[in-house]
């Protein structure tokens, strides 16, 4: 039997999964691990969302109501780190685990045991992250992490022991995502069904290939940066400590060398999901396969050399600043190409608007809006004004929520019938979509105005002239946050039952994953499919 050596723990073949906790703890099955990734991400989504709602509750009125300044900034830090490393990246990795083997006709991931490891590091990392938040509440626990997720020194050198917990949490999260990325690349390179060449792979697989390469290129640099931070804190080195001749700005460079490509890491898998959804519901093949692949590769390379546009105000020379400005604006070309590709795919299609497609259309609209404010921020003289204001907050939430999170929601609705064998409740899902999207816009649209009027970010209090927009934003945030309870309900309801889904699920769906029954058997593609 051909898969025996590929997936050693699958020697018990064909008897279905083992029972009880062993199934999950020792799983080497890509579907089970994918499911665990997705559940983990959902839990983290609620944790990160709760911290965001606390932030917005505090900002409902000027003055200090609920939180202390340091606690507020710690929540800002946690919100970002949990959402990025805990929710979006694991959810995208969950989709990758579930779908890549099904899409390329592979029996499982190439390195199933490493797959298990890369998932089970995550709960440990999340625990460390939580500890960093909890520790300051105890006597002797030191101060709270008030740096924001960017962890800039010198502030991060002065925070108490909670920073050490956070540094190790980042190490663990980094190791987990590097292992997952290596696994995905090996799977894509070596496990494709015979006859499927790279340019025949679904775009979702391509986006993950590019994402995985980005991750193994940039995550180690962040790991190095926080390691230096740790050395500065405890071992007397002076990488960033100005008192010993170090340069705090160096950390900013290391951080953003990771941080900027990271936004493409978050967005690309969701764009891959769109490339599956839009042709299905427009009932037309993808408009420009090759240009999509080309754009992605261009984004990967240009995205790695424009990081300092996050640091315009540090006093770089005019030449350096101009280079980063031009590079940043150039990136909007391949990104725009991807957006236009999707629009052209919809052009004159016979479209229907099931929930995944509703999300897809909303994503294109709102992501493009975030992209436009991004170009505003890329322009140096303008950025000097907008830097560190709520305008920046509005910009990156418009990019990351539609670009990453909504894409994942769309993917979950799109593939949930395939995973569970049951259709989700379309009526409830549409209600969720509308509440979610309206709540989102209500939250973040007013923040543009706040930022342009001069309200800084990451500060607990504000001038009373900003009160009205902040109230609107906070009300929106509560609607937006609570709407996810409906998402949770829909998912649980679908898992427990519902109208049985056919193998193809969607009328216009194309691709290998739809050749398998819904839900697919525990071991699928044990004999590789024929590629025509």
């Amino acid at each position: 039997m051909s898969t025996a050596t590929l997936a050693p723990a699958n020697d018990h073949e064909h008897h279905g999964p083992p029972r009880g906790m062993r199934r999950w703890l020792m799983s080497t099955n890509h579907k089970d691990i994918g499911t665990m990734y997705l559940i983990f991400a959902l839990v983290m989504l609620f944790l990160g969302g709760a911290s965001a709602m606390l932030i917005r509750a505090e900002l409902f009125m000027p003055g200090l109501q609920l939180l202390e300044p340091d606690l507020y900034n710690n929540l800002v830090t946690n919100h970002a780190l949990i959402m990025i490393f805990g929710a979006v990246m694991p959810a995208a990795a969950g989709l990758a685990n579930w779908m890549i083997p099904l899409m390329i006709g592979a029996p499982d991931m190439a390195l199933p045991r490493m797959n298990n490891l890369s998932f089970w590091i995550l709960p440990a990392a999340a625990t460390m992250l939580m500890l960093s938040f909890v520790v300051p509440f105890f006597p002797g626990g030191g101060s709270q992490i008030n740096t924001g997720w960017t962890l800039y020194p010198p502030l991060s050198l002065q925070v108490g022991m909670s920073m050490d917990f956070l540094i190790f949490a980042i190490h663990l999260l980094g190791i987990s995502s590097v292992l997952a990325s290596i696994n995905i690349i090996v799977t894509i390179f070596n496990m494709r069904a015979p006859g499927m060449n790279l340019m025949q792979m679904p775009i979702f697989v391509w986006t993950w290939l590019v994402t995985a390469f980005l991750l193994i290129l940039v995550v180690p640099v962040l790991a190095g940066g926080v390691t230096m931070l740790l050395f500065d804190r405890h071992f007397g080195t002076s990488f960033f400590n100005a008192a010993g001749g170090g340069d705090p700005v160096l950390f900013q460079h290391l951080f953003w060398f990771f941080g900027h490509p990271e936004v493409y890491v978050l967005i690309l898998p969701s764009f891959g999901v769109l490339a599956s959804i839009i042709p299905t519901f427009a009932r037309k093949p993808l408009f420009g396969y090759k240009s999509l692949v080309g754009s992605m590769i261009a984004i990967m390379f240009i995205g790695m050399v424009v990081w300092a546009h996050h640091q315009y105000t540090i006093g770089m020379s005019l030449a350096a600043v101009s280079y980063f400005m031009i590079g940043t604006i150039i990136i909007s070309i391949p990104v725009g190409l991807m957006v236009f590709n999707y629009i052209a795919t919809m052009w004159r299609g016979s479209m229907t608007f099931e929930t995944p497609m509703l999300f897809a259309v909303a994503i294109l609209l709102m992501f493009s809006f975030g992209g436009l404010t991004g170009i505003m921020l890329a322009v140096v003289p303008a950025d000097m004004q907008y830097h560190d204001s709520m305008f920046v907050v509005a910009h990156f939430h418009y990019v990351l929520l539609p670009g990453a999170v909504f894409g994942l929601f769309a993917g979950v609705f799109y593939w949930l019938p395939k995973w569970t064998g049951n259709m989700y409740d379309e009526r409830l899902a549409k209600i969720f979509f509308w509440i979610n999207v309206i709540g989102f816009n209500l939250t973040f649209f007013p923040q543009h105005f706040l930022g342009l009027a001069g309200m800084p970010r990451r500060i607990i209090d504000y001038n009373i002239m900003f009160t009205e927009f902040n109230m609107v934003s906070s009300v929106g945030a509560m609607i937006f946050g609570l709407s996810h309870l409906l998402l949770l309900y829909i998912i649980i309801k679908t898992i427990r039952g519902g109208k049985p889904a056919s193998a193809r699920v969607w009328e216009g769906a194309n691709g290998l994953e739809w050749e398998l029954p819904s839900p697919p058997p525990f071991h699928s593609w044990t004999t590789a499919p024929q590629i025509k």
Binding site: N190, I216, P220, V221, L222, G224, H253
Partner: protein, 192 residues
């Protein structure tokens, strides 16, 4: 079966290659430390060392006193490791370009033991850096204060008449760092 063996060794090869990239990038992060200084030098981005010259600057060619006035502000910070108070006598001074002025800073050791420190200057906006001449500065030397000692530290400076016209005010900022960090003796703070 042969195909399977093949796939396994192929997987291992790819795995090794990707692990090598990962380790290489981890190393690259550390290589950024010297690379960063080097890049700053060749692209003309001022590094901290260049921005904070701690030796007497060459007095600019143009020595004439002009009619233009600018405001020089004095800012001081003390690193948390250093139990000193440190402040300029005045917060700001109106000076004529080219004229030599003096400002006194007062440093005071709050602890009971002798400590070595050094002040690191920087000028904001950084474009004014080249035009701010320090003829005499306490920052040229290490400063030592005995327990509870306080000392006057003079700065003699001039602002060159070549200062770009759009600059009407500049800030000289001192950050006092502790120098004997490595043989750190525990100190007790006895004064406020």
């Amino acid at each position: 079966m042969a195909g399977e063996q093949n796939l396994q060794s192929k997987n291992r090869r790819t795995l090794l290659m990707l692990s090598a990239i990962t380790l290489g990038m981890f190393g690259f992060g550390f290589a950024m430390v010297p690379l960063y200084c080097f890049l700053c030098q060749i692209t003309g981005v001022q590094s901290v060392q260049q921005r904070t010259q701690t030796t007497a600057s060459t007095v600019a060619a143009n020595q004439s006193v002009s009619d233009r006035w600018v405001t020089v502000k004095f800012d001081s910070t003390v690193h948390p490791d250093l139990p000193w108070n440190f402040q300029a006598q005045e917060r700001k001074l109106r000076v004529r370009l080219g004229e030599v002025n003096e400002m006194d800073f007062i440093a005071e050791n709050r602890s009971s033991s002798e400590i070595l420190g050094q002040a690191i200057p920087s000028v904001v906006p950084w474009q004014a850096n080249a035009f701010f001449n320090k003829m005499e500065c306490f920052c040229f030397r290490q400063q030592s204060l005995k327990g509870l000692e306080s000392k006057h530290m003079p700065l003699r400076f001039s602002v060159s008449p070549d200062l770009p016209n759009d600059i009407s005010s500049l800030t000289i900022s001192y950050n006092f760092m502790r120098l004997d960090m490595n043989n750190e003796k525990p100190f007790t703070v006895v004064a406020k």
